[in-house]
């Protein structure tokens, strides 16, 4: 048996070591990564994938811990991928989400993996979606992705998750913040966490008010829920809503979303492939370095330089 076959079997049987190794291989983009993903891919598509995003300190990790416990009470197995930022200066990362859910570590029905963003944009890591596939193939009923503490435009999670929960904490802005584009548009469910705090109802109302301005008829209207992650208040209601959303997806939306996700993944894979092969060729010719020098000297701007470099490559592609 090859290493990939062995790992695939391990993952499919739910072996913890194999799952962990598979994720590392994918994260490091090791030579066998591509084969591994393609060999587990046919076994994916069964888990419900839930994304949790929101500002740092809103209570994502703490809330996830409570949610996992509730799912476990309902007899579901759960995988968690928790992403924290990589330093743009040193490449290092401090992965601290796990601390909030650490007690779940010894539950055999739960697998938690911390992941550094490795400077991938959009609030997740490049490897996140494939790590989710590993957990899905390993038979987890629910896979939860926690993004890095996200600002206004980190919306990459919609390409990974089927249900997106955006978490707010009271006191971080008024209805003008709520009307902005970006993260406020991607939520299937809004949560105002720290509901025991002053202003929680006001924050929920601000979000509600902006949602009512939406005059498009949609099958799903994002609800606004209140939770207190520390006590677990509101968690069963949140899970109920997630389940409602899942059922709606099952009824029809799922196909559309799956196609959108597949399209986004295909485009991304093409980009990655094209960029790396074209760059490699360009570097070989030496013209690349020459143009870099010219850009530094302000003799040419980057966009024109790129056009110049690509003219030949694009012509080749056309022919």
């Amino acid at each position: 048996m090859t290493k990939v076959e062995e790992l695939t079997q391990g993952v499919l049987s739910g072996d913890v070591r194999s799952i962990a190794r598979a994720i590392t291989i994918i994260e490091n983009n090791a030579p066998e990564a591509k084969k591994l993903v393609s060999s587990i891919y046919p076994h994916t598509g069964k888990a419900h994938i839930i994304g949790f995003t929101g500002a740092g300190g809103a209570g994502k990790s703490t809330l996830i811990e409570k949610i996992v416990r509730e799912y476990r009470r309902n007899g579901k197995t759960v995988g968690v991928v928790a992403v924290d930022p990589t330093s743009p200066f040193t490449g290092g990362a401090f992965l601290g989400d796990r601390i909030r859910m650490q007690e779940l570590s010894t539950d055999p029905g739960v697998f938690i993996r911390s992941m550094a963003s490795r400077n991938y944009p959009g609030g997740i890591a490049r490897a996140t979606k494939d790590a989710v596939k590993v957990l899905d193939a390993a038979g987890k009923d629910i896979v939860i992705v926690e993004t890095v503490g996200a600002g206004q435009s980190e919306v990459e999670i919609i390409k990974v998750a089927q249900t997106v929960v955006v978490i707010h904490a009271p006191g971080l802005g008024d209805e003008i913040q709520a009307i902005k584009a970006g993260i406020m548009e991607i939520a299937d469910i809004f949560v105002v966490n720290k509901a025991d705090r002053e202003n929680a109802s006001k924050t929920a109302m601000d979000i509600q008010a902006i949602l009512q301005l939406n005059n498009k008829e949609t099958a799903w209207k994002p609800p606004v829920l209140k939770t207190a992650a520390l006590t677990g208040e509101g968690v069963p209601q949140l899970i109920e809503k997630i389940e409602e959303h899942r059922l709606l997806l099952e009824k029809g939306l799922k196909h559309k979303r799956s196609r959108e996700k597949a399209e986004a993944e295909l485009i991304e894979a093409i980009k990655e492939k094209v960029v790396s092969s074209v760059l490699e060729d360009l570097r070989k010719e030496g013209k690349f370095e020459q143009l870099v020098g010219k850009i530094v000297e302000r003799e040419i701007d980057p966009a024109t330089a790129a056009e110049k470099l690509l003219k030949k490559a694009l012509k080749d592609a056309e022919a």
Partner: protein, 135 residues
Amino acid sequence: MQTERKIRVLIAKPGLDSHDRGAKVVARALRDAGMEVIYTGLRQTPELIAETALQEDVDVIGLSILSGAHKTLFPRIMNLLKKKGLTDVTVFAGGIIPEEDVAEMKKLGIKEVFGPGTTTELIIKYVCENVPKRT
């Protein structure tokens, strides 16, 4: 896309310490040296630590202990790691471990013991040089 291996380190606090300044200083230093550091938080059982190392697939584990319970807790941790097949993980320890216990700790498979006053530079150098090779 090129292969990019990062050193993954687990910093763990076994037992009933309520003080983790040292562990955080080391975690921060390793982070700044370009590693991915997972911190368990305080009051961890050997089971929690071993299971975390397994799920996170770390290369290196740093155990920090101040309570004096290393002779009870470290053997359990090392046993569990072995049981889970994590024999290719480098384990080092730090905190308050008396000189006369060091040999015993090393016999358990703990590769190095750092005492008070160790510089973070030394620990970084140690970790870099002791990352296990993997196929």
